[in-house]
Chain length 411, copies 2
């Protein structure tokens, strides 16, 4: 007998029919003798509908009230799922954020979990009650409703698994697991059976949308085994877990791409110490994350300073950059949103040199120009012209021998 | 400067545009120097949508989870209204049931308010913040979400007004106030300027849908002035308040009708003591309220026993009655849902006899047969064939001189 946390996303609970399927799956796990905590998102489309209402009211909704608004979505789902399980004869009970309670800081819309009070849940589990917990939401020290940011239900699931020392946190999704790359653009993409937290973190940061980054950080910190699997079948998915020798022997685990960044280039900046800070400080002060950064080789005491931000931050970032550029007497600020970032990720890079070189050569062979580069211990990312994205992913997937030969990709 | 509670129903907050209008009205009251507590229902249609989801899941939804589900509707509205007021530059803050907290018993879906904690709200009011409170919902001693029954937001409003000793509780609705009868079937119906709690209680119990009964009981108990008025204009509405001499001088204040009852007749029951109890006890044990009761004059030691229940309770009531009828060897159980209850209400009846007689004579003159009668100190109700409802209301409205002569009825 184990304690299993099962998290179901919006698509998996998108209709009453699907909620019924989720209930059956939960019941099966429970009937096998396990204690079960279920974490659910809002029904797909609901959060968007609520957000649209907020935007209809005002362009800049108050963040406290925004969280009150959007957290209502999960409240609907937990109630429906608990009703469904009870109508099937199971003991089940819904919990919303403050009832658990999931204590967070007060950063509305992107709150961080500080503490989970597991007392009530433990009592119910001891009583063999199935816990249905609202994902995505928490409560701050003053009793205000908070939310954890888009995809926050993954984090709720992993955090509950950590707090209650669950044996596994199963994240049910509409794909079969984590793939070596996006099967939509590379038909030889293969499901990965096991992957380390660090690789998963890189993949999640670099564009793989299957898990929220913070949930992986949580899993790593508290050593929670996360099993990413399909809510539509019983196939084993991908286990995200502590790294081991076997994982290290794999040079590259996955290829990701992201088209959600825009390039901003500050042209002809005087090449003096402190220039980067002058451009980047106001951006970080405005809570804008800069991803890739490139400073060209100096020429006559001038240089170009280029960086990328997400498309969501772009408008604000451009405004701030233009102000900074004027102050440091740059000649111009250029932008390009026709870019994409392609990355290769693998623990094996730590002990094997040459991955970056192989990557650059492979792209060069196809005539793909590399605009920016960034690396970490276990990943290499490049910015290229967006139109080459699919091609780049496919040739790299081949180059690093990721194609599944015997495994059929089910979608 | 006063403390004003303003309650807006589902129609008044049925769209973002209407929420904006509510915000403007609240702001106007606030700008006049008043402290304001706003109580809102779910957007019209939303509660029905949630109920439909529950019924799609199961025929008999668990009541605890049902309350978790439907209470999400008000959460949406308080957030949107608070956002709207904040975007207009006002200090505003939403509160849902447990945040206030509105402590209730644990009778899910028809919980009764036990205590309101006004500490947080008072702090915010002192700070000149507009309070936006979710109507309809509360929290029980164990932290479970409860709801107060359909129309419960009226009760939330009056209860908050009582707890915070507000100067008035304004109930905004889609009509101009309380009418002498339904203007839809009697075009001479007139808006009542002032009415006593007791008359309002009878009117509300007898079919006038403008206020939830429990809210009037609350208002009476705590002496809260309730001003029922239109959310679409600034006309004065109806003040529900303590009775005074002037009110007592009015013989009949209003005529109501209700078509939501069904008659159940147990035929040829042995006319022995305890028979009524044998039929009614199992019904009350099943929490079914019996309204009108009639026991015919005995004939050869047998009698007919007739009563009415709401259409909502009918199916269950019939099942129970048939069982009881079999036990006491009644010959048959007949039902008739083609009935309506017409009532006249007025404080003046206390001191003036003859209202019932005038009522019966008036109906007789039109050939309307009276099937059942029930009376209280300030009302007379009769059950008649449903097809005569409108006619009965109109002739009684005339007979008791309720028609507005100089007052134009605005709808």
């Amino acid at each position: 007998m184990a304690l299993v946390v099962q998290k179901f996303g919006g698509t998996s609970v998108g209709s009453v029919e699907r909620i019924r399927n989720v209930a059956k799956r939960v019941a099966k796990t429970y009937d096998a003798g396990n204690d079960v905590i279920v974490v659910v998102s809002a029904m797909s489309g609901e959060t968007n509908k609520l957000v649209a209402l907020a935007n209809e009211v005002t362009e800049f909704p108050d963040t406290r009230e925004y969280d009150v608004l959007v957290s209502s979505g999960e409240q609907v789902t937990v109630a429906l799922l608990a009703m469904c399980l009870k109508s099937m004869g199971y003991k089940a009970k819904s919990y919303i954020g403050h009832q658990i309670s999931i204590l967070t800081d007060s950063s509305f819309s992107k709150a961080r979990i500080k503490k989970i009070n597991d007392k009530k849940i433990r009592q119910d589990l001891n009583d063999r009650t199935i816990i249905i917990a609202a994902g995505f939401q928490g409560v701050d020290g003053d009793g205000n409703i908070t939310t954890l940011g888009r995809g926050g239900s993954d984090t709720s699931g992993v955090a509950l698994a950590a707090a209650l020392k669950a044996d596994v946190c199963e994240i049910f999704t509409d794909v079969d697991g984590v793939y070596t790359t996006d099967p939509n653009i590379c038909e030889t993409a293969r499901k990965i059976d096991r992957i380390s937290y660090d690789e998963m973190l890189e993949l999640a940061s670099l564009g793989a949308k299957v898990l929220q980054i913070r949930s992986v950080q949580f899993a790593k910190k508290f050593n929670v085994d996360v099993h990413v699997r399909s809510s539509f079948n019983d196939n084993p998915g991908t286990l995200v877990t502590k790294e081991d020798k076997e994982m290290e022997s794999i040079l590259v685990s996955g290829i990701t791409y992201a088209k959600d960044e825009t390039k901003i280039a500050v042209m002809r900046v005087p090449d003096k110490p402190g220039i980067a800070a002058k451009i980047l400080s106001p951006l970080s002060a405005a809570n804008i994350s800069v991803d890739m950064i490139l400073q060209n080789v100096s020429e006559d005491g001038f240089t170009d300073f280029t960086f990328t931000v997400t498309k969501a931050d772009f408008k604000k970032a451009l405004m701030i950059t233009k102000e900074a550029a004027a102050e440091i007497h740059a000649r111009d600020v250029l932008t390009d949103d026709n870019i994409s970032k392609v990355s290769v990720v693998g623990l094996g890079m730590r002990s094997h040199a040459g991955v970056a070189t192989r990557m650059f050569e492979t792209l060069a062979k196809e005539g793909i120009n590399i605009q920016m580069i960034s690396t970490s211990e276990i990943k290499v990312s490049v910015v290229i012209d967006a139109k080459y994205t699919e091609l780049a992913v496919r040739v790299l997937h081949d180059e690093f021998e990721l194609s599944g030969k015997e495994v059929t990709v089910e979608r």
